[in-house]
Amino acid sequence: MRRMGFSQAIDDALSQAMETDPTIVVIGEDVHTIRSSLLVRFGKERVRHTPISEAAFVGAGVTAAMAGLRPVVEVMLVDFIGVAMDALLNHASKVETFSGGKWKVPLVVRAACGGGYGDAGQHEQSLWGWLAHIPGLAVVVPSTPADAGGLMLTALQNDGPVVYLEHKLLSKPWLEFMGIGGRNTVKFDVPREGAIVNTPRVWKPLPFGKAVLRREGKDVTLVSVGVGVHRAVEAARILERRKISASVLDLRTVRPLDATFVCEDVARSGRMIVVDEDYEAFGLSGELAAVVLEAGIPFTYTRVCTKTTIPYARHLEDQTIPSTQKIVETVRKLLNK
C-alpha cells in the first residue's frame, strides 16, 4: 500500500496505463505545469500542452480517439467545458449511434470540479448531472484517491467517451492552485478520508456503474457522489448520536447509474435523501427519485443540493453548497426527530 493524494492517485494510474498503452496521450492547457511528472516521464509528444482553445482541442480529441489514439483531454475546470460543449454534446456522444455501433470514441475528458474555496459560480460548478443527461457519455465522480485511480484505469479501457471529474477540495494541487495560493490564512473544510488514503501498489480497474456502501444504516439511505459522500458520512455519524441510523451510498459514477443498488437500499430503509453538490433542478437528485419510483418501491424522499448560482462570498457559498449541518437538519425533518 502507498499513501497518496487524489490527483496523485489519478496521475499514478494514468502513468501505469501509459507505460503499457502507447496510444494514450495527455492533451490540455498547461499540462507541462499541472502534469509535469507525466511530461518528464513520457515526453512532450505524449503530454502535449495546448492553447486556450477548448472547442478545438476537445473536438480534436474526439476524432483522435476515433482514429486510434486514447486521448486524455484536460479542460482544467469543468466550467470551461461550456466552451467545448459541442464536441461532447453533438459529436463524442453521437458517433457510436450514428455509425450503427461500428465506430467508437475512446476519449477521456478530465476536469476539476466543485466548490468550497471561494472562487464563485463560474469556477466552482459540478455539472455532472448536466453532462450525464447526454446519452453516450459516461460520467465519473470519485470520492477517494483509491477509487480515483481504479476508475481512471477503467476510463482508459472504456470504448466510449468518459468525463472524469476530480473535486478540487479533495485534490491538494488543485486546491493549492485555486484556493490556498501558499497562504496559511485560509481554511477549507477538506474531508480527510477523501483527500489522502492508502492506495494499491498496482492499480486495478474499478467497474463503472457499481456504487459502494460507505456506511450501513437502517432508517434512511443517503445517496451522493464526490465530496457530498464525505459530508453524508459525517452527517450519519452525528445522526447516530441521535439514534438515527443512516446508510451512505457512494455512486462513484453518475452515468452509468447503479440503480439496482440504490433501489435495494431504499427498499430496505424506506427513505432516500440525495446529497448533490450539483444543481437541484432537472438533475441527478430528480433522476434518483425517478428510478426508485419506477421500480415501484414505496419511499419518502428529500434532497440537499445546490439550488442557485454559487455566490462568491464564503459565508454565502457555505449556505449554498450542501453541508453536513444541512444534511443533518434535513434527515431529522424527514424523520420528525
Binding site: S15, T33, G43, S53, A56, D119, G179, G181, R183, Y312
Partner: protein
C-alpha cells in the same frame, strides 16, 4: 487646422497610481485571507487601462476579462463598492455575489467574465446595442493574448468587421497564457490575424501610457464616427504572474518551497523504469526549467508603467507629483479602512 489632441498625463498618472494602490491593498487583504479564491491582478496593465478607459464617456461599454480591476478603477467605479465586493460584503458592488472575476456595473455598461475570450463576443453585443441605441458611443473589449486562440474571440473579430461595429479590441500581450509560453501554441502572429479580418490594427507599447492614449484616441474616434472596429496589441508585463502565488513565479520568489514541493515527483518520474530514453526525459525536464526561466522575464522594474510615467513627471514638477501621490495614498488608506472596519 484643429490642434492635435493631447493627453493629460498628470490625470493618467493619478489613475494608474490609484489602480496600483488599490491592487496592492487587494493583494495584502488576499494574503491575510480576507479575500478568497484566486486573485488575478492587473498590475503591469495600468497604462493600457488608463490610456484607453480614461477616454470613455457616458454610454460607452466595457467588456472585461478576469483581470478587470484596473479598467473598473479608471472608469470611476466607486472604490468603496469595489473593495467591499472583493471582501464578499453584502454592501459591495455586486452584493458580494461576484468577486474580483465577475464584476458588473450596469450604469457603466461594464461586464466581466472569468472565461477566457468571453469579453470579445460581449463587446460585440454592446457595440451592436450602441449602433442601434446610442449614436457615437463605443464598446471596448479587454483580453489577454492567450484568448487570441479562442474560437469565439476570432468569430467576434469577424462579426465586428462585417457589421462595422463601433468597437475597440484591446489585446494585452504578456506572452504567457497562464503558464504557457504563448508563442509555443500560436500560429502566425496576432497583428496579422486582426488585419486578416480587415480590422485597423496597431501594435503599441502597453507600458507607455502616452502612446496607448494616442493610439486609443484615433481608434475611438474612428469607432465613434462609424468607421468600424480597431484592434490594439499592447505589450505588457505581469510581475505577479497569472495570479497571486503563480506556480512559475514560486521558483523565483520562494525557491525553497517550490523545490521541496515540485522537484521530488519530477525526479521520481525521471528515474522511473521503462521508455522513453533518459535523453528524451532530460529534454522534457529542460522544457519545464525553460518555462521557469521564462517566468523571470515577468519581474519588472524598467517595464513598470507607473514607474515609467513617474520618472517623466518627477522631472516636470516634483512637488506636484508628491502632492498627487500623497492624495492618492491617503484616499486608498481611507478606502481600506472603511471596507475592513467590520471585518475581523
Amino acid at each position: 487646422m484643429q490642434a492635435l489632441a493631447q493627453p493629460d498625463v498628470w490625470l493618467l498618472y493619478r489613475l494608474m497610481l490609484r489602480s496600483r494602490l488599490f491592487e496592492e491593498a487587494v493583494a495584502e487583504l488576499w494574503r491575510q485571507g480576507k479575500i478568497s479564491g484566486e486573485m488575478h491582478l492587473g498590475i503591469g496593465e495600468e497604462a493600457i487601462a488608463a490610456g484607453i478607459v480614461q477616454q470613455l464617456r457616458d454610454g460607452d461599454a466595457l467588456a472585461l476579462d478576469h483581470r478587470g480591476t484596473p479598467p473598473m478603477v479608471v472608469r470611476g467605479i466607486d472604490l468603496d463598492l469595489l473593495l467591499r465586493e472583493f471582501l464578499g460584503r453584502a454592501d459591495g458592488l455586486c452584493s458580494g455575489m461576484g468577486g474580483h472575476m465577475h464584476l458588473f456595473s450596469r450604469e457603466h455598461l461594464t461586464a466581466s467574465s472569468g472565461i477566457v475570450g468571453a469579453s470579445a463576443p460581449a463587446a460585440v453585443g454592446f457595440a451592436l446595442a450602441a449602433q442601434h441605441l446610442r449614436p457615437r458611443t463605443v464598446a471596448v473589449a479587454f483580453f489577454g493574448e492567450g484568448a487570441m486562440n479562442q474560437g469565439a474571440l476570432l468569430e467576434s473579430l469577424n462579426l465586428a468587421a462585417a457589421w462595422k461595429l463601433p468597437l475597440l479590441f484591446v489585446c494585452k500581450d504578456s506572452q504567457l497564457a497562464i503558464t504557457t509560453d504563448s508563442s509555443s501554441v500560436t500560429g502566425g502572429n496576432i497583428i496579422d490575424r486582426a488585419r486578416g479580418f480587415a480590422l485597423v490594427a496597431e501594435e503599441i507599447d502597453g507600458r507607455d501610457v502616452v502612446s496607448v492614449w494616442h493610439s486609443a484616441h484615433k481608434a475611438l474616434n474612428r469607432a465613434r464616427s462609424g468607421m468600424g472596429p480597431s484592434f490594439l496589441l499592447a505589450q505588457c508585463v505581469h510581475p505577479e504572474g497569472h495570479f497571486l502565488d503563480d506556480p512559475l513565479l514560486q521558483f523565483v520568489r520562494r525557491p525553497g518551497r517550490a523545490l521541496r514541493q515540485r522537484v521530488p515527483p519530477l525526479v521520481r518520474s525521471a528515474i522511473a523504469r521503462g521508455a522513453p530514453s533518459l535523453r528524451a526525459r532530460l529534454s522534457s525536464i529542460k522544457a519545464v526549467t525553460d518555462l521557469i526561466a521564462g517566468a523571470r522575464k515577468q519581474t519588472f522594474k524598467r517595464d513598470d508603467p507607473v514607474h515609467r510615467t513617474r520618472q517623466e513627471l518627477i522631472k516636470e514638477h516634483k512637488l506636484r507629483l508628491q502632492q498627487v501621490e500623497k492624495e492618492e495614498e491617503k484616499k486608498m488608506t481611507e478606502v481600506v479602512r472603511r471596507a475592513t472596519v467590520h471585518v475581523s
